[in-house]
Symmetry: none
Subunit: 232 residues, 2 copies
């Protein structure tokens, strides 16, 4: 049986060393990342079992890291942060974090919470390896890099366009209702959001089709209901 692998995302060397030596002495394997970019890449390439994430990273905000990971991976994320405000905790948890510890934290508690997470993973034993990229026809989404390609040619998407595409991709083949989509992206569903949604769909389709050779229809409209990504 393999050791549980833990990705430690922390730029403060002292804290990182504290964590890694603790993990070492408790029979864990670990990987390190000093910033958000590396963290995202490590999650997609090394596929750790659990992620320990500091929120105060030099490049990307920790919350954004969580959100981006959650576009394609369900890997448990335990946040370890100096931010002790309630709103920070709530933001992190609602963005997709599984647990939240505030610095200074008890090493023993961290280990206990790791065990809780491991227990849950074991009972799941859901051995479907999550793919860090999505392919459909000529399109490819590289989740770790946050970039999209048509025929290995990168196309630039704005944040919302990217989110939208990920949402459709994750539910490829299924019809997503207007309200489901607007809720997923804006958190609420006003009529004005649906109007915006149409605009985004238009630009997204334009960008996808422009690079596509065959006249493939990636996104299909379901009148009065919503949209669907076709499996090609």
């Amino acid at each position: 049986m393999n050791k549980t692998t833990i990705l430690v995302v922390e730029d403060d060397i002292a804290v990182r060393n504290l964590i890694t030596t603790t993990l070492d002495t408790h029979d864990y394997r670990y990987i390190r990342a000093e910033n958000g970019q590396n963290a995202l890449q490590a999650i997609s390439s090394k596929k750790p079992d659990i992620v320990l994430l500091d929120l105060g990273l030099p490049d990307i905000d920790g919350i954004d890291v969580i959100k981006r990971v959650r576009n394609w991976s369900e890997v448990p994320i335990i946040v370890i942060s100096a931010r002790c405000e309630d709103t920070d905790k709530i933001d992190a948890l609602d963005s997709g974090a599984d647990d939240y510890l505030t610095k200074p934290f008890s090493v023993e508690e961290l280990l206990a919470r790791l065990r809780v997470t491991q227990r849950r993973l074991a009972s799941l034993k859901n051995s479907d390896p999550e793919d860090s990229e999505f392919r459909n026809g000529e399109m490819k989404i590289d989740y770790a890099a946050g970039s999209v390609f048509i025929n290995s040619e990168e196309i630039h998407l704005t944040p919302i366009e990217y989110k939208l595409l990920c949402l459709l991709a994750k539910n490829s083949g299924k019809v997503l209702t207007h309200t489901f989509i607007t809720n997923s992206i804006w958190g609420s569903s006003f009529d004005s959001d649906v109007a915006s949604l149409r605009v985004f769909m238009a630009t997204l389709r334009k960008k996808l089709d422009k690079s596509s050779k065959s006249g493939q229809q990636y996104i299909q409209t379901h009148v009065g209901v919503g949209y669907r990504m076709n499996k090609l």
Copy 2:
């Protein structure tokens, strides 16, 4: 969709009221238990989705409650306790608790952690995606994709046509009265709706028959009563 049911195990009336009123205002259902015995009974008989557990109960020690529950149930347990020692936390977590909050706790944080737990429960349920579909003769309805096939060739239906077909399919073999159908689709039943219904039936039949090889009659008219989908 049912509300999430939460068992609140807490003997301190003030704290309990704080929690239950909070749950009330956030669309949760709750059950109460004042001691460990009642809690164990409630978990087995009422089958709550989540348990909020105070450790300082009058009869059984909270840790023991956790251990005994874990003999036969995996229900998520979130501990809310005045004990703030690390060892207490670790004992509770290692005994099978899923999370641990110390009093005084932030109501907002509690809600956020409840949402985390709910998220996990939801993803557990959806792990086996039964892509529900309906088959009858050469026809197939893929509900998730919102599309209809005749001999694995997709046919385009307008929203009402699709709704109508789903309604007939769901009650395949049964005669549906005019008023039942118009009520299901328009919410009310005017004479004009029945007139429309005839038109929709005509186009629907036309679309189904056009692709069908054998002259199968999917929809049968019952004069003066309504329509029925034949089982083929």
